[in-house]
Amino acid sequence: MTTLAWTRRRMAFGRFWSVFRTRRAGVAGLAVLVFAVVMALIAPLFIDESVTSVLHDTGRPYSGPGVDSVIGRDESGRSILELIWWGSRTSLLIGFLAAVLAMVIGTVIGIAAGHFRGWFGALLMRVTDWFLVLPSLVTALVLAAILGGSMATIIVAIGVTAWPSTARLIRAQTLAVEARPYIERSKALGAGHWHIMTRHVLPNVAPLLLASITLEVASAIVTESTLAFLGVSSNKTSWGTMLRGSYDWNAAANGAWWYIVIPGLCIVAVVMAFTLVGRALEAVLNPRLR
């Protein structure tokens, strides 16, 4: 029984993959993404936190790409390459955790708001709508400014302002699923709220969640860098804080284009990769779009 279930699951994945594979942009995004994540994960095998130290192994500030450092150095003579490598850990971690936080809140609220009709659902929807219209970056900035900038704060600030769109999406999907006759059938079979939410709604929104979480990570990474740029950061080297550094130390006027362009390109590449994968997943998994 279980092996059969396994083969079927493998087959389902195979089917999914064969469709996903046809979306070239999605596959390219996935490749970039896998590369970025793997690099971030294996970073400690090659370098450690000391690459962010201003006292160790530094070269001439703002020295350009060359033998000494592959893609130039920053204002304190640290290697941009190493900083980017190490900083990707922070950027990706914040992106993932904030997205997961947003997802969890959004999913719970979205499913509950879609499943429970009456005042409870209406209340949840009201709250969601309220959060949705709040200008999220502005709110995140206020939250981070008030709570002070630590990794946890930034994650919470992003997560807490990013969940409503997920909740909206999940709620819409929940409503769509709940309108399907199989929910009625399930109720007629005697199913309770929990059964319907976990057995029917959740599996049906899960693919959408997967797509949406990838998109959410993308926007969380951008938000993190923007917050860092606006002066509230997690105090750890990330691509956003690097860009902030390049701005603070006027890399532009000092001709250190590598300091501005490369971290920015990294953000764009990774965000783009997440976006492409997310869109591809959405197209493959969301029956409405298919």
């Binding site: 200008p135 206020v142 008030i146 923007t226 606006l230 509230v232 860009l243 532009a252």
Partner: protein, 351 residues
Amino acid sequence: MTTPLEAAEPAAAQAAGPGDERPAYRGTLRYAATKVGGALLSIGMVIIGTFFLFRTLPGDPVRALAQGRNMTPEALDLERHRLGLDKPRFEQFIDFVTGTFRLDFGTSYEYKRPVLDLIWDRLPATVLLAGTALVIAVGLGVWQGTKAGWRPGSRFDRFSTGTSLIFWSVPTFWLGLLLLMAFGNGIGPIPGLFPTRGIESVDAPDGFAYVVDVGMHMVLPVLTMVGVVYAQYLLVMRSSLLDEVGQDYITTARAKGLRDDQVRRRHAVPNALLPTVTLVFMRIGFIMGGAVTVEAIFTWPGLGQLFYRAVKVPDFTLMQGTFMVLCVSVILMNTLADVVYHVLDPRVRSA
């Protein structure tokens, strides 16, 4: 054979007279009323939320006011009294709410002026910047989205979708910095064409030249905002057009002998525009977020810059006032969007 009921129905509609949509109109009014009610509720939540959010602040606001200067205890007490901080929390809350309703957001620590005045001063610049950017972004997005969605998979589609996705992935501030470097300062063959700060030259000329001057100042900030924002309009327009193209009524329109562009202009695009219109208003908050960054980079004297400064100082009264105004304006925009959508889409109108 007319039945009493059937007879009653057209009678009611005819009584409304041709051109007059009274029943629908009344429906819209009622709808608008509930939406406005909802918006008021949201605004109330904003006020309450803001109060508690800003009351959790660590530190003593009076000392923040002193900004590190040497103040006597008496002076501090006096100030505390003046700000009403010596009252119980609940009374403070009541004061806060009544103050807010009287549009009294307090006095900025930083500018020593009523927050409302400051906001009022800054509003036009933001409206100009964000408004222009929005109009251009929507225009560009809708135009490209339409073209792309009408021929999905075409070279234009792949190119425009790809480009917009790249812009979409770019952090606003980074794009702003690059533009500032490239067009403000000039790089290589690109001359430094555009001013890099503010809304006008100090010695702004009059008349038409002034308009040109302001226009020149707007180029870079508007470009930055448009670059980041237009993608979503493009993508939404594209996908909603794709949705529409699959519909049967499009086939009907073709069957009627309409030209391809007639089908697009008369049927597909107007219908596909509806979701885009809502999105335009829904994402006003996003534009506001962009405005904060862009205004900070280009020294644009708008609300975003005011807010950014308030965050940096930090000037909590100002931050709180600006935050509320930003939120409330977004809520109002959304309400407007709901009502506009309601008026535009007959399907929703009577639902």
